[in-house]
């Protein structure tokens, strides 16, 4: 198959969990990577080495362990800087996850009555509820791009939506439900044209596409560590340095200050301004190893692999009677998450039967209720591949779906 990663067997060996067997001796067929990715040995080993040999608090510590830990943490920042092609290392802020990064922006960007924030109907809840809460607090108006029937953004009313009172345009690069890849440079340009800030949710893009913040030209971009083969507990907010330094502080605490008296305090510049308290140190170190690992394989190559697998999956899924794919049907226009419905069987029940054969998929609304509602769907089943996914795993999925129909006697 064209586009597959050449050393797929070798890559799979990097991921210890892929050797697991499940109940009944079934081998694991992990097709839930858009939910969270599996971790290569090098990420786990890097974290263990840090905990067993270099653990100390950072920045504040003067001793050798402190210097080693600080160096490891700041080296991880440099790796993320390279991963995003960020112009300055001061622009990469470590957060807990993508959700915290989005909420940081929604809490600190100044909004008021009369202002508006524009999002889209295909956002993950983290990029919806954060702005709903910000609008409730500030009196700003929340607007959104609708979706076309084939799962793209409906840009027909873009000029009315994004106007001179728009303060923020926030959108996902790749939809976690529909798989749609959005025209990010175009959306960034629309925001810039009216002087609004552009915020890109790259949670699903960063794992599978080369992300270059300078090429995209956005103001802010977030992603989450656990979807790029890194650990949980770590996410990234990237922002233009001058914008970050204009934002008020988010959390108050250690390391984000310049000086503190009981009456008042002054604050450090980015990135420390937004890293209050002891940061997720070993998690950042793990994330550094993860983006190095991805960089070593190459994001272009991973992207080609994902597209090949997705095309193969789209084809296989459509061979299942009564199955309807949600979102674009052309693999070139989408990422590697494919949500679908199967007539007569509820997604939970599909996932349950699949699981009994070792095939792990997600069932539900995937934290994208509005996108489901747009297509009149309560819940869907989602398979999502990653750099370790093989065509044989897609075959196993398709065969398990046929079995599901038989099990529920759908015909």
């Amino acid at each position: 198959m064209e586009g597959l990663l050449p050393d797929l067997d070798v890559i799979r060996k990097d991921f210890p969990i892929l050797e697991r067997t499940l109940a009944g001796g079934q081998p694991l067929v992990y097709l839930d990577s858009a939910n969270t990715s599996q971790k290569p040995q090098v990420v786990i080993d890097t974290m263990v080495d840090h905990l067993e040999r270099h653990n100390a608090n950072i920045a504040r510590a003067m001793h050798q362990l402190g210097a080693e830990s600080t160096e490891a943490y700041e080296a991880a920042r440099d790796k993320v800087v390279a991963f995003l092609n960020a112009p300055s290392r001061n622009e990469v802020i470590f957060t807990k996850n993508a959700t915290e990064a989005l909420n940081l922006l929604a809490r600190t960007i100044d909004l008021g009555p009369g202002d508006n924030v524009v999002i889209t109907e295909m956002e993950h809840h983290s990029n919806i509820v954060s702005w709903q809460l910000a609008c409730e607090r500030s009196g700003a108006e929340l607007r959104w791009f609708g979706l076309t029937d084939d799962g793209h953004l409906d840009l027909s009313n873009a000029d009315q939506l994004v106007d001179e009172r728009t303060k923020v345009v926030a959108f996902t690069w790749v939809s976690n439900m529909l798989g749609t890849i959005n025209p990010v440079t175009d959306l960034v340009a629309r925001a810039a044209a009216v002087g609004a800030l552009s915020v890109i949710d790259a949670s699903q893009a960063a794992p599978q596409l080369p992300v270059d913040v300078q090429a995209v030209g956005c103001d802010f971009l977030v992603f989450t560590g656990h979807k790029v083969t890194g650990p949980t507990g770590i996410g990234v907010l990237w922002g233009r340095e001058e914008l970050l330094n204009q934002l008020p502080p988010f959390h108050g605490g250690g390391e984000m200050i310049e000086t503190v008296t009981m009456a008042r305090s002054t604050y450090a510049k980015a990135p420390h301004r937004f890293e209050a308290g002891t940061p997720p140190i070993v998690e950042a170190v793990g994330l550094g190893a993860a983006v190095d690992y991805l960089g070593h394989i190459g994001l272009e190559a991973i992207h080609a692999h994902e597209q090949a697998i997705t095309a193969y999956a789209l084809e296989g899924l459509q061979s299942v009677p009564g199955l309807t794919v949600l979102g674009p049907l052309d693999a070139a226009q989408r990422g590697g998450a494919v949500s679908f419905e199967l007539a007569g069987v509820h997604p939970h029940d599909i996932a349950q039967v699949l699981d009994s054969r070792g095939v792990a998929v997600r069932a539900g609304h995937h934290c994208a209720k509005p996108a489901h509602a747009r297509f009149g769907v309560q819940a869907s089943t989602r398979m999502s591949s990653y750099l370790y996914t093989t065509p044989a795993e897609i075959d196993a999925l398709v065969e398990a779906l046929h079995h599901t129909r038989r099990y529920f006697k759908v015909d």
């Binding site: 009944g24 939970h348 029940d349 349950q352 009994s356 309560q378 819940a379 099990y407």
Partner: protein, 155 residues
């Protein structure tokens, strides 16, 4: 594996799923609630109609509109079979028995005299992720009944 799966999807459950009893929203009712399973999106709108009986209130009707998986749909259907026509006090005991079965991690022996078709859910208790599905409408019913009773008192 199939044995486990068959323990979950017993024929009784699949029958209720395909042919749910007492489906639809009906008048009269004293209370209506809407419950959601936040994780998966399953929803139920459920109405309770109570009537006075010789020994306190009686569950006269339970009507509903629900979307969800086979387990949650079948469980709603079984719920209505079990509580409609019973005194509220007795229905609450059935509720408690069902709850204990579901939270028993597969270690509780179901009592067919009390739970009737509900014993088919014994297998569900072994699937922690599905327990919420089975309990969705039972929780909604308890909530609605409590509301209907306060309603009754304040009248």
């Amino acid at each position: 594996m199939s044995t486990d799966l068959d323990a979950l999807y017993q024929d009784i459950i699949l029958d209720h799923y395909k042919n749910p009893h007492h489906q639809g929203l009906r008048d009269p009712f004293e209370s209506e609630v809407h419950h959601v399973n936040p994780t998966c999106g399953d929803e139920v709108t459920l109405r309770v109609h109570l009537a006075d009986g010789p020994d306190g209130p009686v569950v006269q009707d339970v009507s509903y509109d629900a979307v969800g998986c086979s387990i949650s749909q079948a469980s709603t259907s079984v719920l209505t079979d079990l509580v409609i026509g019973k005194p509220v006090a007795e229905a609450m005991e059935i509720h408690q028995t069902f709850l204990e079965l579901m939270q028993g991690k597969g270690q509780v022996e179901p009592d067919e005299d009390v739970l009737e078709d509900g014993i088919a859910f014994a297998g569900v208790a072994k699937f922690p992720a599905r327990v919420k599905c089975a309990l969705l409408s039972w929780m909604a019913w308890k909530d609605a009944t409590a509301q209907a009773q306060t309603e009754g008192e304040t009248r």
